[in-house]
């Protein structure tokens, strides 16, 4: 019955492409000198699991290196997603990257035991699940690649809308490092640093990086403090062993802990509202204000181990990527975020006399791939095997508070005034896959690309439920314990996904391509099923996507201008969206439904230019037309023809950076960015109250860099016009007039923020 906190927001914005891949110094523009003119560097990406030039890769990719991330104060994906064409990451209620929307396809859920994300996120080639490391502040990152469109061959597992690959900085052969401190409004204080170097000549290298990030939340608590606070600490240690020229062993261990006050939505009502004042706080005090009647704390602890072993075997490269991650989180949160005793969610803590186990997730993955050299001057291929195993266990209680009991006149045993609904869910996912991708030059200019992936996936679910009836003083009047777990039928699926394309080099600097690619997001188990087994469906089915794409990759003006354009048409069958149902007791339960069909088509344009030696321009544009072609939801409402949620029709980004050489005093630069986003709806029924009009955002940064490049002092501001963009809206709440009198809850994007940072590199 949880009142949903889903906060998916699609902010479409554009970001210029052509980022530098080899930062020569922190904050400095990478450049190559060619007879005194500056040119844009080749960007190397690993989107096909082999190193290729971005301009030569027939995929829609945006890549961002460390210098970009530094220059834009990126702590989480959502901070720069609005600059990427047709990509958005609605500000998470907890951290970053929680839900990423690519070409209008976003997950309407907040993860859980079996719901997959539409875009796969990878850290150092290892798949990171929801609420994993990439849901928190990122640090010491070398490059981020955003791959738009289904990546169903070499990336595979649940990358229906795309993939985002993060690569952390590697140990260095020379001793060095950096320390970076940040301070800003909302009491922001952050630290990031790394030290790296050799331990045994060139044979054994190390790197240790750490991060601390702390700030207040963006929602003021009327009783003091704020909601949405962040307090994260992390460390990553690497050992790079290179015993021979043929063997390369990289070991990565990382740990992260996080705690904070959970974010809450804002309750507000229209004119003539006559309900409880607690549900109209937003109208009275403003949209970033709230009050709860109970705690709202969340803590998490994550641990990960990765090993990447590469053998060079007669120019073939055999790579083994092994990853293990475990995560545990605990929380006691006011689930609906109001001052009424309405709903709470508890896991991993003791509350109401019940010891709850934490949410625990363990992921193990193993990939073995063989990358060929260029054979017969025409052919390259990659072959691989993949294994994935994830175990998830949660024991939660959800409180149906006295407000609901009294308002609906529920007759609870022994006159209980509230009820704790208890559930225990254990799920496991096991997946085997074989994949391959290759390229064959039909002519020196025309290449045929093909790829395949066969995936066999099984999921197991077991659940148990119980209830505790509470008296006026929260004393236990009746305890119905969790029963024996009920194991549902195993979910099995075998999927073939393929890719076929042609790539044609019009010239050395111009390439065009056409591809057809398939993607797949597996089905799973509705976690909320246990709360209303007579009302909801236990399973939802898989989602399949087919993408048709035409692309242009081009360089002009002696490498001072790149123009990359992509046109695409994607069709989705059995698109998974969240439906919200209110049962007879007034409880809101959500379930994942296969929506039917949806289509997403559009254009992406990324232009990078060097109009002058010290002036960089980046322009990107995304046009998107994404709608349900067939969707009748569980209540019988027909949403066919409605826009997909968080899919604005237009997003633009224009960024300009100008460097000024001060000679012995160093350099300073100023950077400004304008991001325009078209209007969008925040949920499938496309209500006006849940719509967001078009917006313009401005970001800026100015920094001084010392002459030796060791020091950088910067000042920055984001969302300078203080735009508030809708990231969540709950129509089911608004419809339940009995309980909520027409009030509803909505959430907003981050407000204007500003800060300073100081970095020392050695």
């Amino acid at each position: 019955m949880i009142l949903s906190r889903a906060i998916k927001k699609a902010l479409n914005a554009s970001l210029s492409a052509g980022m530098m891949t080899m930062p020569l110094a922190a904050g400095a523009l990478a450049q190559s000198q060619d007879e005194g003119k500056r040119t844009l560097e080749e960007i190397v990406v690993t989107a096909t699991k082999r190193a290729t030039s971005l301009q030569d890769t027939p995929m829609s990719i945006s890549a961002f290196d460390a210098s970009y991330l530094d220059a834009n104060n990126v702590n989480e994906f959502s901070e720069f997603a609005d600059s990427i064409p047709n990509v958005s990451a609605p500000d998470g209620l907890n951290g970053a990257g929680n839900s990423i929307s690519i070409r209008g396809i976003s997950s309407q859920t907040r993860g859980g035991s079996s719901v997959e994300q539409p875009a796969g996120a990878y850290l150092d080639q290892v798949f990171v699940g929801a609420e994993g490391f990439l849901d928190y502040v990122i640090y010491d990152i070398a490059q981020i690649e955003v791959l738009r469109g289904p990546q169903g061959t070499v990336w595979g597992r649940n990358t229906a809308s795309g993939a985002i690959s993060y690569r952390s900085q590697r140990p260095t052969r020379e001793f060095g490092g950096y320390v970076d401190v940040q301070a800003g409004d909302y009491d922001l204080s952050a630290f990031e640093g790394a030290v790296s170097g050799p331990l045994a000549g060139d044979k054994l290298l190390f790197r240790v990086a750490g991060m601390h990030y702390e700030r207040d939340g963006y929602i003021d608590d009327l009783d003091g403090g704020s909601f949405g606070t962040q307090d994260q600490d992390a460390v990553r240690a690497q050992l790079h062993f290179l015993p021979t020229d043929e063997l390369d062993i990289l070991l990565i261990g990382q740990y992260l802990e996080s705690e904070g006050v959970d974010n809450i939505p804002t309750w507000s009502a229209g004119p003539g509202y006559e309900g409880p004042p607690e549900l109209n706080v937003g109208s009275v005090h403003g949209k970033r204000v709230g009050r709860t009647n109970g705690p709202s704390n969340v803590t998490s602890e994550l641990f990960g181990l990765t090993s990447i072993v590469t053998w060079n075997l007669a120019d073939y490269e055999l790579t083994s990527v092994t990853g293990y991650q475990s995560a545990e989180s605990s929380a006691h949160i006011d689930d609906e975020g109001s001052g009424l005793d309405l709903a709470e969610a508890i896991y991993g803590l003791t509350a109401y006399g019940i010891d709850h186990d934490p949410d625990a997730s363990d992921i193990f993955s193993q990939e073995l791939r063989l990358v060929s050299p260029r054979l017969w001057n025409t052919t390259e291929f990659t072959l691989g095997l993949y294994y994935f195993d994830r175990e998830f266990d949660t024991e939660r209680s959800v409180k149906v508070g006295s407000y609901i009991v009294d308002t609906l006149g529920l007759q609870l045993p022994f006159g209980a005034s509230a009820l704790l609904e208890r559930e225990r869910v254990a799920s496991s996912t096991e997946s085997y896959a074989a994949f391959g991708q290759g390229s064959f030059d039909i002519t020196p200019r025309l290449a045929l690309q093909a790829g395949f992936r066969i995936t066999e996936e099984t999921k197991d679910f077991a659940f148990a439920n119980g209830a505790v009836f509470l008296g006026e003083n929260d004393e236990t009047l009746l305890d119905i314990p969790l029963g024996e777990p009920l194991k549902l039928d195993q979910f099995e699926d075998t999927v073939f996904t393929g890719m076929l394309g042609l790539k044609y080099h019009v010239s050395d600097d111009v390439m065009v391509y056409a591809t057809y690619s398939e993607g797949y997001k597996s089905g799973g188990f509705n976690r909320s099923f246990v709360t209303a087994p007579d009302l909801l469906l236990p399973f939802f089915g898989p989602e399949e996507v087919a993408n048709h794409e035409l692309g242009l990759r081009s360089k002009w003006l002696d490498g001072r201008l790149t123009v990359n354009a992509t046109a695409f048409f994607m069709s989705y069958d059995d698109l998974q969206v969240e439906g919200r149902v209110i049962n007879e007791q007034g409880q809101i339960v959500s379930q994942i439904e296969n929506a039917g069909q949806a289509e997403s088509q559009g254009l992406e344009l990324e232009v990078t230019a060097l109009p002058a030696p010290d002036w960089e321009l980046f322009f990107s544009a995304g046009y998107l037309d994404a709608e349900f072609t067939r969707f009748v939801n569980v209540d019988g409402a027909d949403y066919s023809g409605n826009s997909l949620p968080f899919a604005p029709d237009l997003n633009l980004s224009l960024r300009s950076r100008h460097d000024f050489d001060l000679g012995a005093a160093g350099t300073w630069y100023v950077q400004g960015e304008w991001v325009h986003q078209g209007s969008y709806y925040s949920e499938p029924s496309n209500r006006e109250r849940g719509s967001q009009g078009s917006s313009n955002m401005f970001h800026a940064r100015a920094a001084w860099i010392s002459a030796n490049g060791n020091w950088e002092l910067g000042v920055w501001g984001r969302n300078l016009s203080d735009e508030d963009l809708l990231v969540d809206y709950n129509p089911a709440v608004e419809d339940n007039v009995t309980l909520f009198h027409g009030a509803t809850l909505r959430s907003w994007s981050a407000p204007r923020t500003a800060g300073v940072d100081l970095k020392y590199s050695f």
Partner: protein, 473 residues
Amino acid sequence: MSEEFGMSDATVSEIADAVRAGSQLSEDLVETVIRRVEILNPALNAVCYRDYDTARRQAREIDAKVRAGIDPGPLAGIPLGVKDLENARGMPTCFGSVFHTGAAPASDDSPHVERLRAAGAIPLVKTTTAEYGFAGNCDTILCGTTRNPWNLDKTPGGSSGGSAAAVAAGMIPLCTGGDGGGSLRAPAAFCGLVGLKASHGRVPTPNGIPENTGYGVVTTTVRDMARCLDVMSGPHLRDRMTLPLPGIQYEQVMETLAVSGLRVAWSTDLEFAEVDTELADITHHAAQVIIREAGLDQRDVQVEFPNVLAAMGAVYTHRIESRLRCEGLLPGRWEELSPEVRRSFDGFRASNECELIRAQDVLTDALARMAALFEEIDVLLTPTTATPAFAAAGPAPTLINGRDASRTLDAPLTPLANYSWNPSISVPAGVTRSGLPVGVMITAARHRDDVVLRLARLLEQARPWPRHSPSIQ
């Protein structure tokens, strides 16, 4: 064809009405109960004898009556468990004792069973009992240990423990019992059920001899109890103490009787018993709800009694031991008595004739005090028991709140109404922190069974209780 009766929403009254209306087949009900018994009884051990074939035949007869337009009665088609201290025609009665192993099937029903059967109920099993009814648990050498569905480590109480366990678990919708000192009310309290010891004489005994025992049923709702009392009430030639027909329908008056202004008193312990403090709090709170909902006039009167339980124990011990000696079973076969019965005999036995006389005097004194009390009040509210359910194999608790309770044990408050002949009902008051049900007991003036049912109904409406144990479900 509901397989959900007793386990979810359908009450005995609703099921019987459905059978009478022809929308529910009695045959299906019987088969469902048989399946439930075979699944659940291994854990509960509440059933000690089965007569499925006779039950099936009786069910077919009821279904045939309905098809012929004949009303089988207000308990049409209800599968019934009969406590093994009472007779059900065709099934042996073993009194929970190895001394009665191999007993012949009874040739007739006990009067209350006969009336239940005539109303359409279908006896199909005998339920376990404390040996000779003389223990607060059902742990016998003959049948083993009966367990409480709310917590299988605990007893469902005694002596009607098998009946209470079977109904609370949703295994059998209706079961009988007898109450000579609390043997219906205490198991009802332990198992979260309704248990009524009606006014003495309201329901006939087999032979009119016991001056303290009332017969009845355990149910999950007050309406079911009222309907059964309507069926069982009335004079009987074999029982000289039976009362005339009450002239009212209890199922009707439990909804309508005016009780506002009746004088009520609360007593935690009748001034002699040791009562668990958590249980006292829960039951006192329930009593306050009754007083508020009914508009009762609470009086501050002295409610003080001697230890009725110990006196009753001495009298019972003498009676049963004397009988067993006369039949040559004692002292030679002492070890064949169930452990809790032996403990009770040893604990309450009068050491000499004078002690026995004094025990009888205590009971006489209690009767006088009860009569005086009910000149000042109309309703007495107390906890049903002194503790929640104790260990299934015993012993009964001798230490409560850290104090000696060896002479009061788990159910010291119930025998008073047995000797004073007042109607006394136990209804669920709540559940302890450890998940065990406790009951509040409503005792009214003699012959005012309508009052106890009405007050019970008011509590049921204000604080509905779960009708079955959750753990078995």
